[in-house]
């Protein structure tokens, strides 16, 4: 029988290893799997390469993972936001690496990995510093750069609801990077607000087919990151 449900976030992230590449869904806090990230902090894997659009805010979630010195390198499009100080501080001190990728290129490189495409061409970043050292090619009199797929060992994704096959639906703009990250990792680990019976998700409306998901943990009432930040909370909990 197929049953991808696991009992706890702790159990879900147990095999993430030192040096792994881990994708983390979310655009700012929307879609960020904060309970899975906190479980990864408890678990302690380090020298991680994290692929995520941002670098977290305050001292919880992704920012806390970085603050806890578990991250060797960030691959992201926008590593600073209103309340992010952890990554900027470490970056200025030279204690964390950054690969800056335009947001659409980040998305497409992840999608390419999931779709078995090793590389593709795009106009994005041509004639900018981010195209330095990238291979250029002309198609139909326009210049494009070659971009490579980004694969991951693990993806940590937040969704709205899931079933035991791993079929997922999302909530509004919290969908963002979740569906493509599910496709790009060897092991995709999901936190869902609700677990539904098979068939309760309309087959026309499934966003992530279960084939892309390995484990699902129910987190019925996920933390609100901006509230935690406003309250100056830090993880591990202060």
């Amino acid at each position: 029988m197929i049953n991808k449900l696991v009992k706890s976030a702790r159990e879900a992230v147990v095999d993430i290893f030192d040096g792994a590449t881990v994708m983390i869904s979310g655009f700012g806090e929307a879609g960020s799997p904060i309970e899975l990230i906190h479980a990864l902090i408890d678990q302690g894997a380090n020298k991680l390469t994290i692929v995520s659009n941002n670098t977290g805010s305050g001292n919880v979630g992704l920012a806390a993972l970085i603050e806890n010195k578990q991250v060797k390198k960030m691959i992201c499009s926008f590593p600073r936001t209103a309340n992010s100080t952890v990554f900027p501080d470490l970056y200025r001190k030279g204690e964390i690496e950054l690969e800056l990728v335009p947001q659409g290129t980040l998305a497409e490189r992840i999608r390419a990995a999931g779709a078995g495409i090793p590389a593709y061409y795009t106009q994005t970043s041509v004639n900018t510093p981010l195209a330095q050292n990238k291979e250029l090619r002309i198609f139909n009199k326009k210049a494009y750069v070659l971009e490579y797929a980004i694969k991951a060992d693990f993806s940590l994704v937040k969704c709205h609801a899931a079933d035991r096959y791993g079929n997922l639906i999302y909530n509004k703009t919290a969908r963002n990077f979740g569906p493509i990250m599910c496709t790009a990792a060897k092991t995709t680990i999901v936190q869902a607000r609700k677990i539904l019976e098979l068939g309760q998700i309309d087959p026309e409306c499934v966003v992530t087919p279960g084939i892309f998901v390995k484990r699902v943990v129910e987190v019925a009432d996920p933390a609100d990151e901006s509230k935690l930040v406003a309250e100056n909370r830090r993880y591990p909990w202060n």
Binding site: A115, P209, I211
Partner: protein, 209 residues
Amino acid sequence: MAQKVAMDIHDGAYVNLGIGMPELVADFIPEGREVIYHTENGLLGMGKAPQPGCEDPELINAGKKCVTAIPGACYFHHADSFTMIRGGHIDVCVLGALQISEEGDLANWSTGEPGAVPAVGGAMDLVAGVQTIFVITQHCMKNGQAKIVKQCTYPLTGKNVVNRIYSNLAIIDVIEKKLFVRELARGVTFGYLQKNTDAKLFKNSGEQL
């Protein structure tokens, strides 16, 4: 043969079954195993044939036959469907064959005859992307000619792609570009098998037949 294939499909596998004989595999999955069928025209969780009168011409499989969808199924478009295939997410694909070479090359889409209308469908994508490729085939052609050959003479579907061959005479593994006999059909001897095979066969011990 279909039953033998079915025995080798593990619980929880995501499986794409080719048109024709491979479709029969679904009927033989042992009880207690849950297997999810993918059809490349946009359905994961394909169920059995519909009851007569309940056919929906908009719910079909890759062979364009009417099918059903199980609870927990989902629909998606062609680019997403081939993301599953090309991206290595499907565990097993079962296909038919015109020829298989001793290195695991597969020819199953064209006899290359002049005047024939070539048609490839999803076969090249499947053999390139799916992790394990099972071939289910009569051991020889109707005229007795070998299908398992040193080198395919028909146009290839893919090179070094077949993992295991299920024929009416034997089950044969392709390992490091060599053919190892895994199981003989009842009453078939190694000698008889080799006689009906143009490629070199090895016993599992490594000994050449």
